[in-house]
């Protein structure tokens, strides 16, 4: 049914270097969220903190009443059974073939018979389109296949929360589009809470219900998709539209001189907000909202051309 993740005042640093501080957000149950951020802003660290692989310095992460940041090791292993995580490279066990990889969590955690395991594994392999590749070793297949196999393994225990660490890195645009469609379909099917960490803007613009942006050691903004896509906030606007004009520079922040030089440059207009990706069977997801609903409720005029069918996916200027 999906589980809510409540993050409060989360701070993490490695030694003296602050990664991000004071991150407060609530990932709503059953919705798809995307966490964005320029390279090196600690998105993956954020994900690893959420599953308790890294301990935050301060703050709390509440999932079903348990604080991941301070609970015991035993509780942590219990709560992790709610999670399915897709790692960047799939993180398949190199010594096992794909079938055994996907069956691994079932064999470790359930007392199911081999024939039950077989039917579950085959169902998940079919879901990610890997039927027929069960006997391959992770070293023998392409990165995209490894990713899909990792997704099958993440889904095998019917998780309440699914975390994706850059599902689109290293994939071609077609496969990325298929994967995004798969994510939306999955959400419609299992109603779990999805959190995707990425820096692919196309994914961020079309897939999620909510978007968060990590920038310069803090959470710049977190909210409904339409709120961020219609935002005039310089950082959000620059990042979501892949522009060079704005506070983000090549190395983290731009200095004062660069910003001053840009001061009288006119910002390109906000591109129209695209339609959200719909489940392929046409039945809306439970957490899906009508296009433009947020804008209407909050009296925001979306950029011209928004929510039109077949609009072009132009970003950047």
């Amino acid at each position: 049914m999906g589980v809510e993740i409540k993050v409060e005042n989360l701070t993490k640093s490695f030694g003296k270097q602050l990664i991000w501080g004071d991150v407060t957000l609530t990932v709503p149950a059953g919705e798809i969220c995307v966490m964005l951020g320029p390279s090196g802003t600690g998105k993956s660290v954020f994900l690893k903190t959420l599953i308790g692989l890294l301990k935050p310095d301060q703050g709390s992460i509440i999932i079903e009443g348990t604080d991941i940041a301070s609970c015991s090791e035993k509780e942590l292993y219990e709560i992790r059974k709610l999670f399915g995580v897709l790692f960047q490279d799939g993180a398949m066990f190199g010594s096992m073939n794909l079938y055994d990889n996907v069956a691994f969590p079932l064999r470790e955690h359930t007392k199911k018979s081999e024939s039950e395991i077989r039917s579950i594994v085959m169902e998940k392999m079919d879901l990610v389109g890997l039927l027929g590749a069960e006997d391959k070793l992770p070293g023998e297949i392409s990165g995209g296949m490894r990713k899909r196999a990792g997704l099958a393994r993440a889904l095998v225990l019917d998780p309440e929360i699914v975390l994706f660490d850059e599902p689109d890195s290293g994939l071609d645009p077609v496969r990325t589009a298929f994967l995004n469609q798969l994510i939306v379909d999955l959400n419609a099917q299992i109603d779990a809470t999805f959190l995707i960490v990425t820096h692919d803007i196309n994914t961020a613009r079309t897939v999620p219900d909510n978007i968060g942006l990590l920038y310069h050691k803090h959470l710049a903004m977190f909210g409904p998709r339409e709120m961020l896509l219609s935002s005039e906030e310089p950082v959000v606007r620059q990042f979501l539209n892949a522009q060079r004009v704005g506070p983000i520079g090549m190395s983290e922040e731009k200095d004062a001189d660069e910003l001053a030089a840009e001061a009288d440059q006119e910002l390109p207009p906000l591109p129209p907000i695209p339609m959200q990706l719909e489940p392929s069977n046409g039945i809306p997801r439970r957490s899906q909202r009508e296009p433009g609903a947020w804008c209407r409720e909050n009296g925001v005029t979306p950029p011209p051309g928004s929510f039109e069918e077949n609009m072009t996916m132009t970003t950047g200027a």
Partner: protein, 261 residues
């Protein structure tokens, strides 16, 4: 500045403490069910397969060197009839555990460190933790137990091969009397010597596997990190094993009175 120096000076203490804490974690996970029997058997077989032949090959010259050295010395004292006894004592008490330690650390430990290190940098260990499985219980405990078991067997192997090698060299090269060599076995050596050899080998197996697993699981920085982890684990294990060997030998010689022939 002062605090930085202090941090640097205390860094090795911290590293030692972390290694010790890891050892305690392994000890705790040892009793957690389910026990990974399959992994244990696979690992025991694997470690045995990479160590048996090198161990036998090391044991023969080891026994021979001791036989030559001790035999020559004892001849000067005119106590040839005790050659066998001295050889057994040296091989069973010292040479066998040390040769075992070198092989377990060099062949078994390096393989463990490389395996776990590769899994660490490929995020396999993270994935395992996220799937709700403790890698210490699932991977490290079976390896540690396997290394201990194989160390005990290797110790037996080295003892037998070493003593046999000593016999051959003594009888064939040094014109010793076969009967005297065998008859004097129990003149100086006693049963506790065998026990202490076994205890040493078990502890060496434990240390080698724990250090290797610790280093492997903390590998960082890509493929080079794995190489570094393997290198460090072998060096640290060697140093630790020789220190521990010294301590156990010293305690043993104090506690168990030497047999007077």
């Amino acid at each position: 500045m002062a605090s930085m120096t202090a941090t640097r000076a205390l860094a090795p203490v911290g590293a030692a403490g972390k290694l010790f804490a890891f050892g305690l974690d392994v000890g705790r996970a040892l009793f957690r069910r389910p026990f990974q029997l399959r992994e244990f058997i696979q690992q025991a077989w694997f470690i045995a397969s990479v160590t048996i032949i090198p161990t036998a090959l090391v044991a023969i010259p080891f026994g021979a060197v001791i036989a030559l050295q001790v035999g020559g010395l004892i001849k000067q004292f005119g106590a040839q009839s005790f050659t066998g006894s001295a050889s057994v004592l040296a091989v069973v008490q010292q040479a066998a555990p040390i040769a075992t330690a070198l092989l377990i650390a060099g062949a078994g430990g390096s393989a463990i460190a490389a395996d776990l290190g590769a899994r660490k940098i490929r995020e396999e260990l993270d994935a395992m933790m996220v799937l709700g499985i403790d890698p210490i219980q699932r991977l490290v405990v079976p390896r540690v137990l396997a290394a201990m078991l194989v160390a005990v067997f290797l110790n037996g192997l080295v003892s037998v091969v070493g003593v046999a090698g000593g016999y051959v060299f003594n009888v064939v090269l040094q014109d010793g009397t076969p009967g005297a060599y065998i008859a004097s076995f129990t003149a100086l050596a006693q049963l506790p010597d065998l026990w202490v050899g076994l205890v040493k080998a078990t502890i060496f197996g434990l240390i080698a596997a724990v250090v290797a697993a610790y280093k492997g699981m903390n590998a960082a920085g890509g493929p080079k990190g794995v190489g570094d982890a393997v290198n460090e684990s072998v060096v640290i294990t060697f140093v630790l094993l020789f220190i521990v060997n010294f301590v156990i030998s010293a305690i043993y010689l104090q506690v168990v009175p030497p047999k007077t022939g």
